[in-house]
């Protein structure tokens, strides 16, 4: 689905100095993969995300979406209808006055005719559990519901990959649960590829692969088990393991023997009381 080869992205700040936002990233995201990207503020996460649907272009290296180079202008529409983005602030991404019109906005722009358009909107709203709100004004929705509408907009464009940049940072616990559950369901049931940027390590646990960035480079990559068992390295990166992993590490340091890679609550329970 996504192929990142030697990606560098430099820009010049107002002092005329070169800032290396991305400094040589290689990454491979399979069709149907679920990838979490973590890293300190300023490590390059959002810059990376914006390359996936050609909002930004590489200074060096290449980004391919289903084999299409994001640097080639003729690929732009095909790429943007395949890869959609959901941002942090739910209020900044809704354009229409009625939920179903908002979801229809993307495919309509792509020239999708009726009745196909109506069918896509209905299916997209059903997939995110927002059918009951189709006729409502978005201003009546909670933050979590708005994020789900934004996701539905991508599905209605027949998107196959959703890139979410800290989608729950502004949400209450229920909103977080809703967004996470929706993303997980779309990945499992429809094989939608997910790239999920987060500061919340518990949310990153839902992914199949985790990339930790540091100063525009990949510092750690692997399954959640592999990445989150590197507790010292995570600490150095300004990150942390999820709660169960942190506790397991502390207990080990205190001399208690705990076997296996512990990152989830159930795994810690299993290790302590087999």
């Amino acid at each position: 689905m996504l192929e990142v080869q030697g990606l560098k992205h430099y820009f010049t700040d107002e002092q005329g100095r070169t800032v290396k936002a991305l400094d040589g990233i290689d990454m491979h995201v399979d069709d149907g993969d679920y990838v979490a990207v973590i890293g300190e503020s300023g490590s390059g996460k959002s810059t990376l995300a914006r390359h996936f649907n050609a909002l930004l272009q590489p200074t060096e290296g290449r980004v391919l979406v289903d084999g299409m180079d994001t640097a080639a202008e003729e690929n732009l529409w095909a790429i943007r209808s395949r890869v959609g983005m959901v941002f942090q602030n739910p209020d900044n991404q809704i354009v229409a006055a009625i939920v179903e019109e908002d979801v229809a906005f993307g495919p309509e722009n792509l020239g999708v005719p009726q009745p196909e358009l109506g069918r896509r909107v209905r299916e997209a709203l059903a997939a995110v559990g927002m059918t009951a709100y189709a006729q409502q004004g978005p201003y009546l929705l909670s933050g979590g519901q708005k994020q789900r509408v934004a996701i539905a907009g991508i599905l209605a464009m027949a998107g196959r990959c959703i890139v979410l940049d800290e989608p729950t940072a502004m949400l209450d616990p229920r909103g977080r649960r809703e967004v996470l559950a929706t993303v997980k369901k779309l990945n499992e049931e429809q094989g939608i590829t997910i790239v999920y940027i987060t500061h919340d390590m518990s949310e990153a646990l839902a992914a199949k692969h985790v990339y930790a960035l540091e100063k525009g480079k990949v510092a750690l990559a692997g399954t959640p088990e592999e990445v989150f068992s590197e507790t010292d390295e995570l600490e150095r990166l300004g990150l942390e393991a999820p709660p169960a992993g942190r506790l397991a590490a502390k207990l080990r340091k205190a001399g208690i023997k705990i076997n296996g890679n512990i990152i989830r609550d159930e795994e810690l329970a299993e290790a302590l009381w087999p």
């Binding site: 890293g39 209450d172 300004g238 990150l239 810690l268």
Partner: protein
């Protein structure tokens, strides 16, 4: 000395088709030196409530006062009361405006009529409080700082006015784990050293459990619970989920362990507490 709210009701756009009831009879007192966390789902009335505390909104019914000064009095009379309350809104870094960090922080104390010497002292102290080195950052443009630094600078601007009550609305949203931890270490220090009352509005239950001495839960414009976090998180797990909230991660983990048969007490709500319990428990079990 306290912020006192008595039977506060508030309706937005009253008498119009858009009328929306935000608060329905909230009574509470925030004492000097309190560290309070305020939780509730989006739209539960949290933001309206803190605006009432800060005198930014007049109640439709009821009475709000700060250190005995009624906030419904004339603008001039409540100016002193308002000066006691500092509010840091969400994403305060969007409100930075000055050429240098120093000027941005100095704006508040100057506006309160402080002398240049007092202002200088206040700026230096506020920068130290948020962990921004004076020599490194004072003359920098606020817009050349990292996200976490900008957030701290904006908070320094409020601290420089030396409020007796500091209201923080989602201060750690969007910060990475390290910035989050550093930020709270500094807030806890200000709280302890200066006895500043802290009112922390948050969606993060872990922060509420770890830092607050008292937890306010608001739902549909009413105060649902007002008790120590330990009591609320231990007793009302189901109720909290029903109103769109949750228990802290450590309490969830404790519940999983308990279901497995590990005898974790119900009142464990932070990671440090859980760690301490497990260490003693594992060692004790080893001896048997």
């Amino acid at each position: 000395m306290a912020i006192t709210l008595e039977q506060i009701h508030y309706t937005y756009s009253p008498g119009t088709p858009f009328a929306r009831v935000a608060l329905q009879g909230v009574t509470l007192t925030i004492e000097k030196g309190d560290f309070v966390a305020l939780i509730g789902h989006t739209g539960s009335g949290k933001s309206t409530l803190i605006q009432q505390m800060g005198g930014l909104l007049q109640p439709s019914e009821g009475k709000a006062s700060v250190d005995g000064i009624d906030l419904s009095r004339k603008e001039k009379e409540i100016k002193a009361a308002r000066g006691k309350i500092g509010i840091v809104f969400q994403y305060p870094e969007h409100q930075l405006f000055a050429e240098t960090a120093y000027e941005d922080i100095a704006f508040g104390p100057r506006n309160l009529g402080r002398s240049p010497e007092e202002t200088d002292r206040a700026v230096r102290r506020a920068m130290a409080q948020v962990g921004l080195d004076f020599d490194t950052f004072a003359q920098r443009s606020p817009f050349r700082l990292s996200g976490g630094q900008m957030r701290r600078l904006a908070i320094a601007g409020v601290l420089a006015m030396e409020p007796a009550y500091l209201i923080l609305d989602e201060p750690s949203a969007g910060l990475d784990p390290r910035s989050r931890r550093l930020f709270f270490e500094q807030i806890v220090k200000s709280h302890k050293q200066q006895g500043m009352a802290i009112i922390l509005v948050t969606h993060n239950m872990d922060e509420a459990a770890r830092y607050a001495q008292r937890l306010l839960v608001i739902n549909e414009g009413k105060l649902l619970y007002d008790a120590p976090p330990r009591e609320i998180f231990a007793k009302y797990q189901k109720e909290l989920e029903e109103v769109g909230l949750a228990v802290p991660a450590a309490a969830r983990l404790a519940a999983v362990l308990r279901a497995r048969g590990v005898p974790v007490p119900a009142d464990i709500i932070t990671e440090a507490e859980l760690e301490k319990f497990l260490l003693t428990w594992v060692k004790k079990r080893g001896k048997k």
